[in-house]
Amino acid sequence: MNYHWNWRIFWEPAPNGTGTYLDMLLSGLVLTIETAICAWIIALVFGSVIGVLRTLPSKTASRIGFGYVEFFRNLPLLVQLFIWFFVLPEILPRSWGLWLKQMPNAPFYTAAIGIGLFMSARVAEQTRAGINSLPRGQKLAATALGLTTAQAYRYVLLPMAFRIIMPPLTSEFLSTIKNTSVAITIGLIELTGEARAMQEFSFQVFEAFTAATVLYLLVNIVVVTAMRLLERAIAVPGYITGK
C-alpha cells in the first residue's frame, strides 16, 4: 500500500485553531456523549410512557402507542432529522419558525430531540415486551390487593420489567451513541464529524478514522461495563436476569 502513515499527526496543531488534532477528536467525543445522554433521557421518558400505553387494556391507549411506534420506526433517522431541522421551521407560524432558525446550537438540540424520539419508539417496544413477559398473575395480584392501575405499574410491574430489559436497553443506549453520528448531516460536528474534518485538513484518512474507531470502542467498553455493574447492583436474588 502506497499510503503515507503518520501517527504523529495527532500532536500537530489543527488548522481550526482549537489545539491539536487529538484535542479536536476529543471535543468531538465530548459532543457525542453529551448529545447521546440528552437523547437517551428523552428516549427513556417517552419510551416508557408509550410502552406502558401499549400494555393497557384500553383500546384507544394501545392504538395511540401503536401509531407512535410505527411513525418513528418507519422513517429513516436521517429523514426524521431533516424534517425537524429543515421542514419544521417552515411550516410553523412565521415567528416561531424564525425563532427556531435563529436558535444557537440548533443542530445539537435537533439531534438530541430527533434521535431521542427515534430511539423512544425502540425503548417503547422493549418496555412493552418487558411488561408482557411478566406473568399475568402479577397484575392480578397487585389489583387484588387494591392497588390502582398506576400503583400496580409503579410498584410492581415496572420495577421488574426494567430489570428484565436491562440488557436490551444497554444495546439501545449504545445505538443512541452510534446514531448521534447521523447528525453530521445537519451540521453537528461530533466524533465522526471531527474525524472527517481531520481527514479533510490533514489527508491522514486512516489515522483519523482509526482514532475515531478506538474512541467508539472505548465508549462501548465503558458503557457495557457500567451497565453490567448496574445490572448486578439491582439484580433480584434468586432471579436470573435476562430471563
Partner: protein
Amino acid sequence: MIEISHVDKWYGGFQALKDCTTSVAKGEVVVVCGPSGSGKSTLIKCVNALEPFQSGQIILDGIKVNDPKTDLPKLRARVGMVFQHFELFPHLKIIENLCLAQEKVLGRSHDEAMAKGAKLLDRVGLKEQARKYPAELSGGQQQRVAIARALAMDPIAMMFDEPTSALDPEMISEVLDVMVDLAREGMTMMVVTHEMGFASKVAHRVIFMDKGEIVEDARKTDFFGSPRSDRAQKFLSKILSH
C-alpha cells in the same frame, strides 16, 4: 356476606359462566370444585371484579361489585386473594411484599405496616424469612407468605384460587394447615381446590361446577354422602380413586 346472582360471563363467543347463583354467609367456608375449564377460578375472580362479567350481579358486604360507581381498589383491598402461582412480587423482600399494599392502599404508616407484617409472618411460621426475596423460598413457604400478605389487609373474606395445585406434594400440607387454622377462626372463605380432604375437614358447603354452570351446591355431608348429579359423581370417583 357474598351474594352471587344470575352471573353470566362470555369470553368472546365462549360462555365461561352460565347463570351462576350462590351465596356465602359470614364465617362460612365454601369449597368450589369441578373439572378444569369449568369456570371455578373465573367465578371467584368475579367476586372482587378481577374479571368483569356481562350480566347478573354480585353484592359483597352490601356493596354492588359491578356498579360503575363502586371504588374497586377499595373493595378489592377488603377481599384477600391467594393465587395458584403465589404471585409474590419478586423484586421486593418478603416483608416488603406484606407492606406494599398496606401503605399504598390502606395508608398505614411504615412502622405500623412492618409490625403487622411481622406478626402475620410469625403466624404462618416464617418470621426468619422476612429479609429474603421470594425466589429464595420454597413453593410452600411462598404460598404461606402470599396468605399472610392477603391477611395483612384485614380482609372480610378470603378467596383461594387452587392454592396448592402448583406445589410439590410434600409442601401441600403446610399450606393447608394454615388454611384450616384460618377457617377454624371463623374467616369467610371461598376455596377453589381439588383437596377433598380439606373440604371434608373444614368446609361448610361444597359447590360443584361444570362447563360454567353450578351443578351442585350442597352442604358438605350431603355432597360427600350422595351427590345428586351424575357429573359430580363421576368427578368425585375420578379424583378420589387414587
